[in-house]
């Protein structure tokens, strides 16, 4: 690496810093800023994009250059824990640059697109501020060389997502969705945090490369909690994966993503389709040595099972949704499941390739749906139809992305999906067949979506659709091109992508015509069924609803996950807090009464005792009755003596707790 390249690489830290500067600048200038803040945000991310491009070119060139490649790292001491130095810094390798390119490209396009989509919004500058905050956090997550910085960025990304989902807070549903997303993903984050602490404790470092180096020595090490011995590596891996499950909306924490569609559509495209939700997959890819400490480890099995469950479950739900964005949301969940089980069956390259291609075509689909919503003013597909003539650019780009998502031949999705299925084929046949089923369902619901939205006749005469402005269609065209071509870097006979991004020295799995033909026919079968049902209704689409109403309801209600969580988790928690808040009102006053009657008994025996006591009892009994009356009427409390009683009881309980244990 020449000196000039080195100097460029040293500047990698600027990639997340530029957007955060934009964030600060937009906050300071507000509406007075250029383009009401939009140009500042775009300038920030465009600079990051150019820098990422330079870093990518240098990295790819040196990786393909034939010499042994070392990730470029740079770090400084941040803190000292005991006698361990914790270092913070960045590391650039092939996986990093892939992610950098995906994130900066999509972010840039989404920010440009948003000029049109968010035009006239009362909180326009704030929107760009949040977007810049998000990109800064996401980019620092990508370049982080240690798990601690990774975790911090991970949380900050979650905060930005929270702010953006709730951006249109006038809608109560948006506020609910924001809160739900934050808390549900937080459940997974705790796993990530615990995993981080476990790994830190056993390896003595937070640096990822050093952790990987220590992995072989941890084989067979166990962590004893009480009398249960847990093997450390699977424990850490599964804890880390819990974080990925939350962020990437995998079963059973997937419930937040469909609701997150309450945010503005460009946000859904950026955060909830292309980048943030893919961070979970990136985490598994980044920490792959911990997951794949041995082939077919327990951890990878967990990843596979969760991934394939998610892929199938979400795809089935997507077939019956009416909201265009919700269909896409379930499709995203399903595709993320695809990536997960791709990684799980050992397809490191395949899973990450799908991450990249999916980012492009799914962002394209979301932005296209945003264009449709912008043009029609509704999200309900039952009110659309016949838009292909009115919105030609949106239609054609959408069609290309749809083909890529279905995995039709010679689109990008074709390459990545085939690779995942190929890996599954060589590892586990049941997983392969389930994956094939998900591919079939994907083709089916996407055909349904396109047919309902763009084909046929307009169903709602009151909607006058129009094509979106150029600032929105150009990003669509760019993304459509990327959706078409980005797969070719993984052409089976000359797989550059595999050469760049692979795990260990694993050679590519041999290409198989069987798998390719099966995958392609699954896609065409789904397409055919979709056409049969929705284009020229040979069969009535409602046949499913009529023949199997219970199954339809089950899907329509998304397998009742939300209702289940509400009943099992949320309601009891609220109940407990209510009980505790009313603790004084009910239990303490009960105690007061109890003490009152007990002392009344005592007072008869010791009635000669001085007036203080006698008065006290009289007062107490009277007071106690009044208090209980008041409890029945108001649930009254705030009385100091109740507090004192609790304190004395506390002393007694604590003393008793030891003395008679």
């Amino acid at each position: 690496m020449c000196d000039f390249s080195k100097n460029i690489m040293e500047l990698t830290w600027l990639i997340p810093v530029l957007p955060i500067l934009a964030f600060g600048l937009i906050l300071l200038t507000g509406r007075r800023g250029p383009g009401e803040g939009a140009y500042i945000g775009i300038a920030g991310i465009a600079a990051s994009f150019l820098l990422s491009l330079a870093v990518t070119v240098i990295t790819v060139a040196s990786a393909l250059g034939g010499h042994e490649f070392h990730p470029f790292t740079h770090s400084v001491v941040w803190a000292t824990l005991g006698n361990i130095d914790v270092r913070m810094g960045f590391a650039v390798d092939q996986l990093t640059v892939m992610m950098l390119m995906v994130v900066t490209t999509v972010t840039l396009l989404v920010q440009v697109y948003s000029i049109g989509y968010m035009h006239g919004d009362p909180r326009y500058p704030r929107y760009y501020a949040y977007l810049s905050l998000f990109s800064a956090a996401m980019l620092s997550l990508v370049i982080s060389d240690n798990l601690l910085l990774f975790y911090m960025s991970w949380e900050l990304v979650g905060l930005a997502s929270y702010l953006l989902i709730g951006f249109w807070f006038e809608k109560p549903s948006a506020m609910r969705a924001a809160k739900k997303a934050f808390i549900v993903t937080r459940l997974g984050d705790v796993g990530l945090f615990l995993g981080l602490i476990v790994l830190f404790w056993y390896t003595g470092t937070v640096n990822m490369q050093e952790m990987f180096a220590a992995v072989p020595s941890l084989m067979g090490t166990t962590l004893k909690i009480a009398s249960v011995a847990l093997p450390v590596l699977p424990l850490a891996g599964i804890l880390l994966f819990a974080g990925a499950v939350g962020k990437s909306a995998q079963f059973p924490l997937h419930v937040w993503l469909p609701d997150a569609m309450e945010g503005p559509t460009p946000v859904s495209a950026l955060i909830h389709a292309a980048t943030m939700v893919a961070a979970g997959v990136y985490l598994v890819g980044r920490m792959y040595p911990v997951f794949a400490y041995e082939p077919h480890s327990i951890t990878l099995t967990v990843v596979t099972v969760i991934g394939v469950t998610t892929a199938i479950m979400a795809a089935t739900i997507a077939t019956v949704q009416h909201d265009i964005k919700r269909v896409l949301a379930y499709s995203t969940i399903s595709q993320l499941g695809y990536m997960m089980f791709g990684l799980g069956v050992g397809g490191y390259t395949a899973g990450l390739l799908h991450l990249m291609t999916h980012a492009f075509f799914k962002a394209n689909l979301f932005l296209g749906s945003g264009s449709v919503i912008h043009g029609t003013g509704t999200q309900d597909m039952r009110q659309m139809g016949g838009l292909s003539k009115k919105m030609p650019t949106t239609y054609w780009t959408f069609l290309i992305a749809t083909a890529a998502l279905m995995g039709l031949p010679f689109t990008s999705g074709f390459f990545s999906k085939d690779e995942i299925l190929l890996e599954a084929f060589h590892t586990s046949l049941p997983i392969f067949w389930l994956g094939l089923g998900a591919a079939f369902l994907t083709a089916f619901y996407m055909t349904r979506l396109v047919a309902l939205t763009f084909w046929g006749e307009a169903r709602d005469p009151s909607i006058h659709a129009h094509e979106s402005p150029r600032v929105m269609t150009i990003p669509l065209i760019v993304l459509a091109v990327l959706s078409l071509v980005s797969g070719y870097i993984a052409w089976p006979s000359n797989n550059i992508f595999h050469h760049l991004v692979h795990f260990g020295d694993g050679a590519a799995v041999p290409f198989s015509w069987t798998v390719m033909l099966l995958a392609t026919s699954a896609a065409f079968l789904g397409l055919g069924l979709g056409l049969a049902l929705y284009l020229r209704p040979v069969i009535s689409p409602s046949i499913f609803r009529e023949k199997l109403p219970w199954a339809y309801n089950l899907l329509q209600n998304k397998f009742y996950f939300d209702e289940f969580y509400w009943a099992v988790l949320v309601v009891p928690l609220f109940w407990i807090t209510k009980v505790l808040a009313r603790f004084d009102a009910r239990i303490v006053d009960g105690l007061v009464n109890g003490v009152g009657y007990a002392t009344l008994g005592l007072s008869i025996a010791y009635s000669w005792f001085d007036r203080v006591v006698v008065d006290g009892i009289v007062n107490l009994v009277g007071g106690a009755t009044r208090i209980s009356g008041r409890v029945l009427r108001y649930g009254q409390t705030g009385v100091l003596q109740n507090y004192a009683l609790v304190a004395f009881t506390g002393v007694l309980v604590l003393a008793w707790f030891y003395l008679f244990r």
Binding site: G616, N619, T637, G638, Q641
Partner: protein, 102 residues
Amino acid sequence: MIPLEWYLALAAVLFCTGIFGVLTRRNAIGILMGIELMLNAANINLVAFARYMHPTILTGHIFAIFVITIAAAEAAVGLAIIISIYRNIELINVDKINVMKW
């Protein structure tokens, strides 16, 4: 000579009496008197321990004198606070002083 245990028992009884007063009096000054009883129970303990177990060192006595001093300061501050609330609501019954709750 009266054994140490008797003093300790007296102190314990006095302490419990104080607690009882604290829990049952509704008048803030009554509660304050209960607190004084609890402090005096501790004083009896301190002096008795000092007299019986370490008759040559005066620590216990000094501690007791400090406790008495603090009790006086506490009463001064307490009465001032009680007077200031009495001026506003003309009440010093603690079961009525419960605007803030939950």
